[in-house]
């Protein structure tokens, strides 16, 4: 099952239908379309308006103007941000892909020991909030971090040698953060290639390295290219790493600029945020269209494998211990060190790097504070509610939409397109859009937990849609036709046949959306109020306030909880053969 986001298919057959047929939809489809439009249209309109009007102090729109767009071209920061974002996105995509390709090849195509654990570890790592992950790397690579201390010891330098608050720091952190997801997506690319392609190469006299270079890598190239663009997009629109790593080092990108023009400017410069958001969105749309083309090409490329398919792996002989060593090394860098340093920091009274002295000062005070503080407990509670509510709203809704679309109910293609549309909104842009919607509500809605849940639901609709679609496609049409011929109505067929059959997919969908919605900070940071604090935002604020040890204790507590969730996710997905493949 892939988590491949898609944009609408411009070449879809309905375009050729007559106007009557095209707009003829069944009542159920009509209702669902209306529901989606209610959630999608206002934020879009408000986003456009924000960029075209000056905003008063009370948040109401004032005068129509193109000023904010014109400023894009005169503002040197905009081009600077654009260049930074591009360099950063290319760099982190390269890091993530290098790690991901290596891992996916070792796990899927060789007989390396320990390889089966990589899946579990990658999925568990999905449960670590991005903020916490970024922070852990700042602790490792920061001025007082173990790496700098070690380098100073080795070279005798009196000042730290590496500065993580820089472009390369952002690239490394984001690249490593993305590696597990890259691996999960790439492993399906590598798995779908027939092993006899490689065996034929070996029988032609090629060695392992030659076979990897000429056959394995080349066959995976379309898939890798598509993924490259996907990671590029995700990095381009990412917020956590630029905010925590880039901003202190004065390396700004579009997302942090948007955040700053609302959060760190008085009064908030909504117009500039709107124009920047529109520009960012336009770029993302173009990239998604390109991605969509490439990924469709990649699938075409793969269909010629087919017959006599045998999932065999390559015997590496003695080399398999080297590849096992590589897996362990990658595990240490990607999970061991970050988790280790956070756990370590959580036991300290105050953080001052890794020193011999600090080991004698271990204390549980931070945990005591986390468990006793009302606001921390509230934050954990809110986050669990947020995740559960988002997943519970998204999964059944998308399951119904996916089924209607997969069975080609009249007009259901519109549902498919609408539900995947939120992908064009970068998380921070969606935050800006919903912020404006909520501010303009006639009643006090901004800052409530419900408002955060609604925004989060819209944000994760596409992911739920992909999961549900894949689940529905696994159900053979004839199973439903048999039910219909037995005299069941469509609704009965859906509840008695379809739902039970796609339940495993729905459960994994639920857990996946849950994990995603509690992981990111960007979608929520502009929306939460004092009563709707969530973990990711709390961690972000704690870091901004320099409360590293409390952050660590809270992070460890949350990670433990999420490890349980993601392990359950892994086990269920594996049991039913629908892990994120």
């Amino acid at each position: 099952m892939t988590m491949r986001p898609e944009v609408w298919d411009g070449s879809a057959a309905p375009m050729r239908m007559s106007v009557a047929r095209r707009f003829g939809v069944s009542p159920l489809v009509g209702i669902l379309i209306a529901v989606l439009l209610v959630f999608l249209v206002p934020p879009t309109i408000y986003l456009v308006q924000t960029s075209l009007y000056t905003t008063n102090f009370d948040g109401s729109f004032d005068q129509f103007t193109f000023r904010f767009y014109l400023e894009l071209f005169t503002n040197p920061r905009f081009f600077n941000n654009l260049v930074n974002a591009s360099v950063y996105a290319v760099g982190s995509a390269a890091v993530a892909l290098t790690l991901g390709v290596l891992q996916a090849w070792i796990v899927e195509r060789t007989n390396t020991p320990l390889r089966h654990y990589v899946f579990l570890i990658s999925i568990v790592s999905l449960g670590i909030p991005s903020v916490l992950y970024t922070v852990s790397f700042l602790l490792i690579l920061g001025k007082a971090g173990p790496i700098n201390l070690l380098l100073m010891e080795l070279t005798g330098s009196a000042t730290p040698l590496i500065n993580v608050y820089s472009m390369w720091g952002m690239v490394i952190v984001e690249g490593i953060d993305f590696a597990p997801l890259t691996f999960l997506l790439l492993s399906s690319v590598f798995r779908s290639n027939d092993a006899s392609f490689e065996e034929a190469s070996m029988m032609s006299g090629a060695g392992i390295a030659q076979t990897f270079r000429h056959i394995t890598l080349r066959l995976a190239t379309p898939g890798i290219m598509a993924l490259l663009i996907l990671i590029f997009i995700r990095a381009f629109e990412s917020f956590e790493t630029p905010a925590l790593v880039g901003r202190p080092g004065n390396v700004n990108v579009l997302t942090t600029e948007i955040y700053q023009s609302i959060q760190s400017t008085t009064p908030p410069n909504y117009g500039q945020a709107g124009a920047f958001s529109m520009a960012l969105m336009l770029i993302v749309i173009l990239l998604l269209v390109w991605y969509n083309r490439l990924s469709r090409h990649a699938e075409k490329y793969q269909t010629i494998t087919g017959k006599g398919f045998r999932p065999r792996v390559m015997d590496l002989g003695k080399w398999r211990f080297l590849t096992a060593g590589l897996l362990v090394l990658m595990f240490v860098i990607m999970i061991g060190l970050p988790v280790g340093i956070v756990v370590y920091a959580s036991f300290l009274p105050y953080y001052e790097g890794v020193t011999a002295k600090s080991f004698t000062q271990f204390t549980l005070a931070n945990y005591a504070q986390v468990f006793n503080s009302q606001s921390f407990k509230g934050s954990i509670g809110n986050t669990l509610i947020l995740g559960a509510a988002t997943a519970s709203l998204v999964c059944p809704f998308t399951a119904l939409c996916a089924w209607l679309a997969a069975r080609r109910h009249r007009g259901a293609w519109i549902l498919d397109q609408l539900a995947t549309m939120p992908l064009i909104f970068p998380a921070i842009v969606m935050g800006v859009a919903f912020l404006n919607v909520f501010l303009h509500m006639p009643f006090a809605f901004y800052g409530s937990l419900l408002s955060v849940i609604l925004a989060s639901m819209v944000r994760y609709l596409p992911y739920g849609m992909r999961y549900s679609y894949a689940g529905v496609l696994q159900v053979h049409r004839e199973l439903e036709e048999a039910s219909a011929l037995s005299g069941a109505r469509q609704s009965t067929t859906f509840l008695r046949v379809v739902v039970p059959l796609i339940t495993p997919a729905l459960i994994t969908c639920w857990l996946f959306v849950f994990l995603l919605s509690v992981k990111a900070v960007a979608a929520q940071i502009l929306l939460v109020g004092p009563k709707s604090q969530v973990i990711a935002v709390t961690l972000f604020d704690l870091w901004e306030n320099g409360q590293v040890t409390e952050l660590a204790a809270m992070g460890v507590t949350w990670m433990s909880l999420m490890t349980v969730v993601s392990t359950v996710f892994y086990l269920i997905a594996r049991r039913y053969g629908l892990s994120i493949r």
């Binding site: 065996e199 190469s201 029988m203 032609s204 006299g205 090629a206 490329y301 494998t305 006599g308």
Partner: protein, 371 residues
């Protein structure tokens, strides 16, 4: 040529239970012959082939090609597959979709470590190989534009370009449609004879095996159960498994009163009366010996009509069913509760319920002497 001794490879499934594989296979190939491993799926034929190729590492046994050990569990020799000089055609053809026809066929010449070929040589050899399989005109096509049959030819050409000592064919025709399959099998055999390459052919299709092979090794449950020329395998099966797996057959059990000599005939007492049977090997007197007769070796007449040859086994029965198949007619005859299948090209003036006489020669009535 190639000799395989005591080849043993057992698969262990994920939960630790022992699975299929090959449990002690011995055979030797003669220069230039087409040798077939035939058996149902899971019988170990593909495992044997892959062990010879080097794609699987056996647990025990020895594989020798010419004077060179490819694998020997005792001395620890295991020649890596790129150094074995063996060509292989895969069931899925494994034509690399990212390469053209030329690139696919040239690959073995370009990646090999032993012999380095100049670009001109590569070009010449690839042209030769492609011309040989009739793909000369397609040389610069992307390989994805080839049909199934053409991909198959390309796979063959690719296996030939390095002029291997041995050619392995893993169910190469199973992905083609019926008509093309028959055509390709004739072509394949011709090509093998013309080039003189020694080949091992793996298939589960018995008619394909009979048509194409010089010799066949029938495998079942990881062991070779019979090895011989197609005619011997078909006409002189030594076990119920082979008799049933290759073609359709009639089976009846009986008792042998006195010891029988190898190659001779002797009477076996069956519930339907005594039958004179051919003994491919010597057998001592015992009960429960299985006897098989092929449906096409039985003649059928309306009861009372004279049958030509003397000295045949005769049975009387009642016609139960008749199936007209065009070039052949199948009759099901009930002989005192035992059903016999008869296949004959000659339509008889009989209908269901008629009394009939069956006759078959003693040399065609084979006693299965397996223990």
């Amino acid at each position: 040529m190639l000799s395989v001794t005591g080849l043993f490879k057992q698969y262990i499934s994920y939960d630790g239970t022992p699975g299929g594989g090959v449990f002690g296979a011995d055979f030797a190939l003669q220069e230039g012959e087409l040798f077939t491993l035939l058996g149902p799926s899971g019988c170990g034929k593909t495992t044997t082939l892959r062990a010879i190729a080097g794609l699987e590492t056996p647990q025990r046994g020895r594989i020798t090609l010419g004077s060179r050990d490819l694998f020997d569990s005792q001395s620890g020799v295991n020649v890596p597959m790129y150094d074995r000089d063996i060509g292989m055609v895969f069931q899925s053809y494994a034509i690399w979709p990212h390469m053209t026809v030329f690139e696919n066929a040239a690959y073995p010449l370009q990646v090999g470590r032993k012999n380095k070929y100049s670009a001109a040589e590569v070009e010449r050899k690839v042209k030769e190989a492609l011309d040989m399989v009739g793909l000369g005109a397609f040389i610069h096509r992307p390989s994805t534009q080839l049909s199934g049959g053409q991909q198959q030819r390309l796979a063959l050409a690719r296996a030939f370009t390095r002029e291997p000592h041995l050619l392995l064919l893993d169910e190469p025709l199973s992905n083609l449609d019926a008509q093309l399959r028959e055509h390709m099998r004739t072509e394949l055999k011709q090509l093998q004879k013309e080039t003189g390459v020694t080949a091992i052919y793996v298939t589960h299709d018995q008619s394909e095996a009979l048509a194409i092979s010089d010799r066949i090794a029938v495998m079942n449950e990881g062991k070779i159960v019979q090895l011989g020329a197609p005619k011997d395998i078909y006409n002189r099966p030594t076990s119920e498994f082979v008799a049933h797996f290759i073609g359709r057959t009639n089976l009846i059990h009986g008792d042998l009163a006195a010891a029988a000599q190898a190659g001779g005939t002797a009477a076996i007492a069956t519930p339907l009366g005594p039958l004179r049977c051919f003994f491919p090997g010597a057998a001592n007197a015992r009960s429960g010996i299985a006897v098989v007769v092929r449906p096409e070796h039985i003649r059928i007449r309306k009861a009372g009509t004279p049958l030509e040859a003397e000295g045949d086994n005769r049975l009387t029965g009642r016609l139960k069913a008749e199936t007209y198949l065009g070039e052949i007619v199948e009759y099901v005859v009930d002989c005192s509760g035992k059903e016999f299948l008869v296949r004959t090209p000659f339509v008889q003036p009989i209908g269901p319920g008629d009394a009939v006489t069956l006759a078959f020669a003693a040399e065609r009535t084979i006693a299965l002497i397996e223990a």
